[in-house]
Amino acid sequence: MLPSARATLMAALDSGWADPRRLHAEGRRARAQLDQARELLAYGLGVRPPEVSFLPGGPAALRAGLEGLRYAGRRRGARMVATAVEHSAILTTGRYHAAQADNALLFAEVGVDRVGRVDLPALEDAISVPGTVLAAVQSANGEIGTRQPLERAHELCRAHDIPLLVDAMASLGRDSTPVHFDVLAGDARSWGGPAGLGVLVVPERTRWRRPGPASEVEHGRTDVEPVVAIALAAAEAWRQTQANRVVEAARSAALIQRLRAAAADLRDVDVVGDPDDRLPHVLTFSLLYVDGEALVTELDRRGFAVGSGSACTSSTLEPSHVLAAMGVLTHGNVRITLPLNAIAPTIDEDVDRFIAELPDAVAVVRAQLGASDL
């Protein structure tokens, strides 16, 4: 979290603790702060304040976006379409509904190419099937960085009168804000805000309805009251991140370029994702004959916190569905997500040191498996 967002959070815990629905002075103050947070984020997202709702986290917002489009389209059908690299909040919900109806056709997963970009003709085929009520396409993939062609996807969806749900959890604050969507979901963590705040954007033109009893919370799009201090801290983080976004993105992209070149120099490596049309702050690569868990542990020992999509690092022991859908190597996977400069002031030196230590860390874990000479 950004230091300024943390300071806002701490101050707002004192000033905005009251229930914003109450009429006493404390309640009105909390209401004013919540309205202020909503206005700031709505302005940043290019929408009107009543179109923005706060939910408890990005995945919750994304799932709510999906369920509301599905419910609003129930007289038309129940079939949903998503890319095979969507967030698991989409994929597990889609598969759940198909399994509940005992009809695998109710959820279609559209394939991607080797860099993880959706197959647009296949997307069009999928949304052309009668009974389809929505399509879900992410703005960019947080695991591999590849951007999706949202403008084209939205054109196709409009031509078939299908609403487009866009997951912007990986890109908001780090990349340009999506404008091609019918429902948008994001997470404050992506722009340096606190955990526990998702945004759901439902423009007035979109037919969306929350299943279940009517709610008065957050324009009827959830029944969970937002925490005012968290919403205000998220808005403060957005203000700061947006002010620095272009400079920050150029800086991240230059560092990622150096990291990418260093990774490509390793022996037997699959550097994953589109090299150019991508998020500026994410890099992923997979190494043959490397145990992903061992490499994450070795890098952690050297002071680097990286992610991995390898099966051995997941609780399910299944490899990342994103890497699998792309047909790239899933083992020995390393995912680097650069923090914002305001959060990690020493990022340049950290990247230098990572580049210097990576070849040795890889050699160590390959030697542990007796795979040095394969």
Binding site: R114, A264, R267, D268, V269, D270, V271, S286, L288, Y289, V290, D291, G292, S310, A311, C312, L317, E318, P319, L323, A324, G327, V328, L329, T330, H331, G332, L369, G370, A371, D373, L374
Partner: protein
């Protein structure tokens, strides 16, 4: 034709690929290697290994009761052990 079987059942990634690579290292061009594996990652990683190392993927077949995968590859002459992603010609063909 030279045939080798690598039984990697019960081993987790990346060990099935390492066993396969060790068998392929000393095998002459055209050797047919059948890998038996219960590792869910092998379905993706053995095709990727074939692409990165320019070997040929023949088939991936699911065997039931007990459940495991039988993956067949053909070793192609190895010119070097350097790789930068490969040509991307081998595609996974799945027979279930």
């Amino acid at each position: 034709m030279n045939e080798i079987e690598v039984d990697a059942r019960g081993l987790r990634c990346p060990l099935p690929v390492i066993r396969l690579a060790a068998a392929a290292r000393d095998a002459p061009d055209g050797t047919r290697i059948t890998v038996l594996t219960s590792d869910p990652a092998a379905r993706h990683d053995i095709p990727a290994w074939c692409r990165m190392r320019d070997h040929e993927l023949i088939e991936i077949a699911q065997v039931f009761d007990p459940t495991y995968l039988r993956i067949v590859v053909v070793v192609r002459s190895q010119t070097s052990n350097a790789s930068g992603g490969g040509s991307g010609s081998a595609r996974s063909s799945t027979a279930m």
